[in-house]
């Protein structure tokens, strides 16, 4: 960076702090959610199966692989590497999660989303689709913000040649 921060427009300075927070929160949530699921391969496979969207064998593979995708994206976000591209991938994943929960609610299934481990069927009165959707929508908002404003503090992006989205 050749221009000192002081000459940046005020918005960019604020945005940079907002992006720092968004990146750390989104990355932290992805990492934690991934680790909690990766702990138990039987649960994570059963959790995907409970959505009844995929054939069983495919659901198992997704149940095993998805937590590691979350861990990878979480680590990349926390490190601040290629923030814009990684945030875009996270946003796509969140859209899929939201669509899956909406589909489950629409079909009248009673399951736990298994977002942070666990999952599977629950008693009809114990679904929390509303909370799950609000949480995912909030995370999606953070991801979209990062696609728009990827520059942040404490990010490895600034050392890479590819400072994606840096204003000229």
């Amino acid at each position: 960076m050749s221009s000192p921060a002081i000459t940046e427009p005020r918005f960019a300075a604020v945005a940079r702090w907002v992006s720092t927070g968004a990146r750390l929160v989104l990355g932290g949530v992805f990492l934690v959610a991934g680790v909690l699921k990766a702990v138990d391969p039987q649960s994570s496979a059963a959790a995907v199966r409970a959505y009844q969207l995929l054939p069983n064998s495919l659901a198992t593979v997704v149940g095993w692989g998805l937590p590691f995708a979350e861990i990878a994206l979480g680590l990349l976000l926390l490190a601040g590497i290629a923030t814009r591209a990684v945030a875009a991938a996270a946003a796509m994943l969140l859209v899929v999660f939201i669509a899956a929960v909406v589909s489950v609610a629409a079909r009248g299934l009673s399951i736990d989303c298994g977002c942070f481990g666990g999952g599977g069927e629950v008693a009809p009165g114990q679904t929390t689709y509303g909370i799950e959707l609000v949480r995912d929508a909030g995370l999606l908002l953070l991801a979209v913000w990062l696609v728009w404003q990827p520059r942040s503090w404490l990010a490895l992006d600034r050392f890479a040649g590819a400072r994606t989205g840096a204003p000229q």
């Binding site: 039987q42 692989g65 995708a69 990349l76 991938a89 008693a123």
Partner: protein, 244 residues
Amino acid sequence: MSGPKNMNARERGRLAAEQAAARKRDQRILIAVIAGFVVVVVAAGIGFQAWRTTRSPSVAPSSSSVPAAPVTISDGRPIVLGSPQAPVTITLYEDFHCPHCAEFEEQYGPVIREAQESGAARVELYSLSFIDEGSVAAANAMACAAEAGFGQNYYLGLFANHTLQWRDEQLLDLAAKVGGSSSATFTTCVTSKARADWASSIAAAAKKNGVTATPTMFINGDLIDIQNLTPEALRKMITTASQK
């Protein structure tokens, strides 16, 4: 980002374009590397989980002193674990692959075991099998083990190793690990799914009893609210029930 002062406008423009192209190229390479990283992590993760679910049972639970005798398996009737004369009946509806059942076992299992060992309570186990093929195989093997007289330890072993897929080899291996039998009868019972019909009769019985979720617990016929339970509260409930 300013070039040398003596450059003319055209040269500066060319330099800027080159820099932009280089940046774009770097960016593409970085994104390709990152996509590769994610793919490798996911593939390794899938491989790791496949290994974890297909390996042989590794956790041998401490064997319990719950009275163990061969149990008769009859259609629609649960497996009885513990003294048949015990004053308290703890009815459990569990699937060996249900994640919350494994958590339930971890949290409340010791209290239940204590009551079984002291002769205060017996467990009537409805081993449901709605999650996957492994659930069916495990429920079947559980019945085989109970018939062979090592149901209690096998039950503990199934939950202690709940991340396994429950292929036949794993189920037979578990019997050996928990000090159970490796008799031809047990082996055949497991590999031929001899108690699969019993397992489906248990599913029908659960439906008839209005149980739709696992884990579900009754103490002397009263439904227990597991959501708001603590091990201490469970211990008290069992004591109270045994004094009635």
